[in-house]
Structures are given as structure tokens and as C-alpha cells.
Symmetry: D3
Subunit: 135 residues, 6 copies
């Protein structure tokens, strides 16, 4: 059940359809997933998010698969069901193997438990970790 409707191409306005077309071209697929179709109710927000996403997820110092693994990790910690589904699928499309998925899950689980322990114990940060203040 969505808070706003999933807009088909016919129901979306011209500005939103232009973004849908750009998604199709850049991703080389006819399929536009629901996130964009719901966000289409606010075409300016849709456009801003889609444009920023392309900049951030482009290959750079980190490769696209590593970026997707990080995306999944954040989405799990934030409990975003939709994003877990869509970015796990994206990671697979970018070559994530079953073994890599298993290790991703294991690291997420490990971090979740040591995060909880360090927080529960309020462990003071070691001076050795300080990056200093160069101002």
C-alpha cells in the first residue's frame, strides 16, 4: 500500500515522463521501477534525486559493485524494505555472487552486534583514532 500512487506512463506528467525516458536510456532497459513512479508525483524532486544518483553511483575510486554493497548495507541498517530489494537486485545485476552476498550479510550482522556493544558500553574513542584539527 503506497502513500502516493504508482504512476504509469499515461498518468505521469511530461516532466516526470522525461525522467522515465532518461532512466530507460541510461539503464538500457524499458523497465522503470516503482520508486521513480511514486516519486513522480513531485517531478522536481524526482529529477533532483535521479540526477544526483547518477553522479554518486558512477564508477570512480570505488567500483559500481562496491558502491551497491555499501548501498545495501545502509538500507539494511535503516530498515528500508524497498531499498533492500531494489539494491540487492542491482548488486546481482552488477555481478554480486552468492558467496559475496553471504559475506555481505555476515559483515552487516557483525557490525550490527559490535555497534550495539560499543553503544551499550559507551566505549570512549581512543586518542589514536583522532584525525586532529588542522585549522
Amino acid at each position: 500500500m503506497a502513500v502516493l500512487p504508482v504512476l504509469g506512463d499515461g498518468a505521469a506528467g511530461a516532466e516526470a515522463r522525461a525522467v522515465f525516458d532518461d532512466i530507460r536510456e541510461k539503464r538500457q532497459t524499458d523497465y522503470v521501477n516503482n520508486f521513480w513512479r511514486v516519486l513522480a508525483a513531485d517531478p522536481a524532486l524526482l529529477k533532483a534525486v535521479w540526477e544526483r544518483l547518477q553522479v554518486v553511483m558512477a564508477p570512480g575510486a570505488l567500483d559500481p559493485l562496491t558502491k551497491e554493497l555499501i548501498y545495501v548495507a545502509v538500507s539494511v541498517a535503516n530498515g528500508c524494505d524497498y531499498c533492500i530489494h531494489s539494491h540487492t537486485a542491482a548488486a546481482r545485476a552488477k555481478g554480486m555472487t552468492e558467496a559475496q552476498h553471504g559475506e555481505l550479510l555476515a559483515v552487516i550482522a557483525m557490525a550490527s552486534q559490535t555497534n550495539a556493544l560499543a553503544t551499550a558500553l559507551q566505549v570512549p574513542v581512543d586518542a589514536a583514532f583522532d584525525a586532529g584539527n588542522s585549522g
Copy 2:
């Protein structure tokens, strides 16, 4: 301010000191950071966490740096101050460059905002993302 004291080698019990020594040997450093020194109040928990951490973070289908980046990402999303410091430091020690750090931050920021949007809009998961039920 910690919930439990940061135990120096003299204050820790024999079982905890044995873990400290193992940390020193495996990490090839004399430095044992505060997380382990606070957790040392419960030597069985200390040992279980340290042993599991080695299994999970060992090189495998994902390389050690990628695992650290995922660890940092989860720690940020969970708001664990200590873990952000310690695992950012660990990522640097494993070769994370400034450019990679910048891209890690950008992906975390991007995921955080689309997580919020997908949740705020309660976007229904596309059938295309379903992994099926092979039972």
C-alpha cells in the same frame, strides 16, 4: 565516560589478557583498542566477539577493504560513534584513499536520502525483485 572501565593489562583477568595477547599477535601490533578493554569485563563475551570477528573479516569473496567500507557504512547508519572512528581508521590502514573515503560518504548520504524517501512514500516492492520460493 564509559559504562564499564577501560581495563589496562594489569586490571584484566587471565582469560581477557589471553584475548589481548591474541589480538596483538594477529594484528601485529602492541596496541589493544578500548573496545576490547571495556568488553573485557565479560571475558566469555570478549572471546566470542573477537573470534567471530576474525572469521567474518578474513579475506574471502570480498576483500578486506571492501568489508571495512561496509562496516563503516553500517556503523554510520546505526550511529555508533566509536565504531565509525575505529573502522574508518581500519579502512585507512587497509589502504582506503581520500577519494575512496569521499565516495563512501557520498554513497552513504545518497542511500540515506532514498531510504527516507522510499519509506516516506511506502513504495510497493516491484514483483521483478522477488526471489521466489523454491521450497
Copy 3:
């Protein structure tokens, strides 16, 4: 799938039904939504939450729509699916326009990303923001 049943008027006890009736009267509608019908398993908790809600959400220094927008924002950040649906609906009932909804989403997304960045970077709080200690 609920953890406790959604109680119809017939299944609820007298104390819970009295709260249902008060909800109907105060909200000028016959409809009592599921949150109250599930909470009705514990009539004392039901009553305490309903009474406090009326105090908090009453018009005051902030108008009712602003309060609903804040409620939605918290619910999104906490990932409460039910609350996002019910309070977005409440905001609309109190006059939230499509444009306002779009801006609410944009602010939530913006805050989510700068929250993540400030946390990831562990930015020290500026002395200028200190409210002092007047004790």
C-alpha cells in the same frame, strides 16, 4: 499480520469501548482506526496514549498541521509503516497540499543525508551552538 488481534467493537471490553466512543466524539467520525483497536488489548495503555495524544496534538504555539508534519517526519525516520500512513492521512485531512507534501519529503530527505554525513564525519559541535549552563 498483527501481533494482537484488531478488536471490533463487539470483541473489545467496556473500558476499551469507552475510549473508542471518545475517539468518535472528539474526531467527529464513526471510524476508529486499527491502531486503537489493536492497542485495546490493554485498556489502561490505550487510555493513557489516547489522552496524552489529545494534549500534545491540540492547537498551541504550533498549529495542528505543523504538528502532523513533524509527526510524519519522526515516523519516517523511525521507519514506522503504520504511522507514516495514518499521519500522512491526518496531515491531508488537516489541509496539507501536494506541494507541501513534496516539500516535507524533500526536507526529510535532506536531513537524512546531512544527518548521515555529520555522523560519518563525527563533526564536533561548534561552541556557538552551546546553550550554556545556568545552574
Copy 4:
């Protein structure tokens, strides 16, 4: 203790200083707060965040103070200490009274507790809240 240094004007590069100058001009103050000075390690990210922030927080269908209240609410729910300080200060600068602050806190507290209850009870979303699918 920061993960990256708080860069003074002298230590920041030309691209970052240009953003600092823009912040000074747009905000009509000489003061550039720590968030920007730490983010300055990655000038492209700094610029992207600053530019998007101006778009999102500009007066629109919601007034600037309402946007700040929403920003504070998200920051509290996400547990971002820095952001709570900086955006509470910003809300005051935009006219938030003590009474409004008190009501903001009361709504955040109320939402936090009903979020927890609705999640703990896994309350099913009422069909009445469905926005339909106009695809």
C-alpha cells in the same frame, strides 16, 4: 574528536573556500560552522550538499521555520547530535519561541512512543489510508 579535520580558511582548498564564501554571502554572516569545514575535505561533495540545501530550505509551500522544525525532528529520530545542535540553533534564529520548542519536543516524544507501539504490535494499515494505484 572528528574523523576528518575542521579546516580553517587557510587549510581549505580554493574550491572549498569558494563555497565558504558563498555560505557567508547567502547567510549574511562571517561564521562558517564546522559541518562545512569538515566536509571541505571533499569539495565536490561539499558543493553538492550546500547547493541542494539551499533549494530544499528556501521558502515555498512551507515556511522556513516549519522546515527547520521538521529538520530537527528528523535529526532527533536519527540521533545526529551535531544536527540537533545546529538545526535547533537555526530554528531559534528563524524565530522559534520557547513555547514552540516545548511543543516540538512533545510531538517528537509522542510520535516516538506511538511509533514504537505500532511497530511492536505490527498494526495492519487500514484500507482507508490507501492512496490507490492510478497506473
Copy 5:
């Protein structure tokens, strides 16, 4: 650094001081901790929270120590530094032993990791766990 000042008895208004006195009497101690002294800026909110807290934490079907352990667990998962400190101290004052503290930490860590795994895998809820709808 607080968002509002920590009010000493002299700086607090009459309504807030009355709550301070009630805290002293009910807790049989002269010490009023900072949470109440900061909340005292809004005496109505201070009073509402203090009164509700007494109802909720009173001995009932669950004993006071069990309630404190639950309180600590929620505070850790929510990352509330202050609450972790104050409620761990309260649990000790109500008799929590070192061994119980260790087990509390172990359960929190365990839950945190299986929470992350179940979320990452989006495990469908078993029909066996459904409480039905008795409406």
C-alpha cells in the same frame, strides 16, 4: 553540551521545583539527575513525563529490575547515550549483577545481529506467528 541549560534549583521555576521535590521524595534521595533539570525548561512536559514514568515503572506483572533491563535494551538500540548511562545505573541500583549485565549485553548483541539478518533477507513472517483477527 546541552541544547537547553541544566537548571539548578535556584534557576528552575516553582512548578519545576515541585517536580524536583517529588522526585526526591519518591526516590528517597536528594539527587535530581540532569534529564529532569534540562526538561525543566518546559514544566508541563516535565510533569507529564515524570508522572507517566512512575506509572510505567512501578512493580506489576514485571518486576522493577526486568523493566530496567528492557529500558536499557531499548536505549541501546535507539542509541541514546544519556539513557544508557542513567538506566544502566538504575539497573545496578535495583540489583543487576555483573553476570546479569553481561547476559543483557549478549542478548542485545544477538538480537541486533539477527534483526539485521532478518531485515537484510526480508524473511516472510510464518503463518504460525499470526495472532488472527477476532473483530
Copy 6:
């Protein structure tokens, strides 16, 4: 909709089936719930989680029901729908009464709201709560 399939006994590999059998024996039931059947895609992770869970949840300084209540509390605060269902069911199986469930909910709700307030106000931790540094 799961990210990985719910594996029936026939679809699971030998290592995973051995864990299923151990679950059946230790829990004295033929039913293996979905969490384990989805985790079975990675038999090493499945085994590690199941073995650790038995250690952590065994009777000790805290009784099994208290441990389940803590588990539910963490799961609610982390927003893990599956875990809320499975551990509420487990708590009932271990004797949680309706009255205890109601009090568990009330404590979770209370903690959630004071967590939010202490965080929103950035209340400084009282020196009285410091556990010191015995290093």
C-alpha cells in the same frame, strides 16, 4: 517477498539440513521457522548464528523469559518486523502473560519517548553515572 527463497527440506543442502535437524531436536518440535530456511542459502552463516543463539539464550543469570522480553524490545526499537513476530511468539511460549506483554509494551513506549527527549535536549551525562577508568 523474500530476498532469498524459503528453502524446504528438499531444497536445502546437507549442511543446512543438519542444522534444521538440530533445531528440531533442541526445540522439541518438527517446525523450523522461515528465518532459518532463508538463512540456509549460506550454511556456514546459518550454523554460526544458530550455535551462538543457543549459547546466548540459555538459562543463566537471567531466565529465558527475561531474555526473550529483552529480545523483543531490541527488535521493536530496530524495527525488525519478522523478529517482533517470532520473539513475541517465543516469549508467549515461555510463559509471557497478557499483563506482562502489556507492561513490556508500556516500558518500550516510555523508553522510546525519553530516549527521544534526552537526545533532542542533548542532556549531559551526570558525573554520578561514570563507571571510572581502572586502567
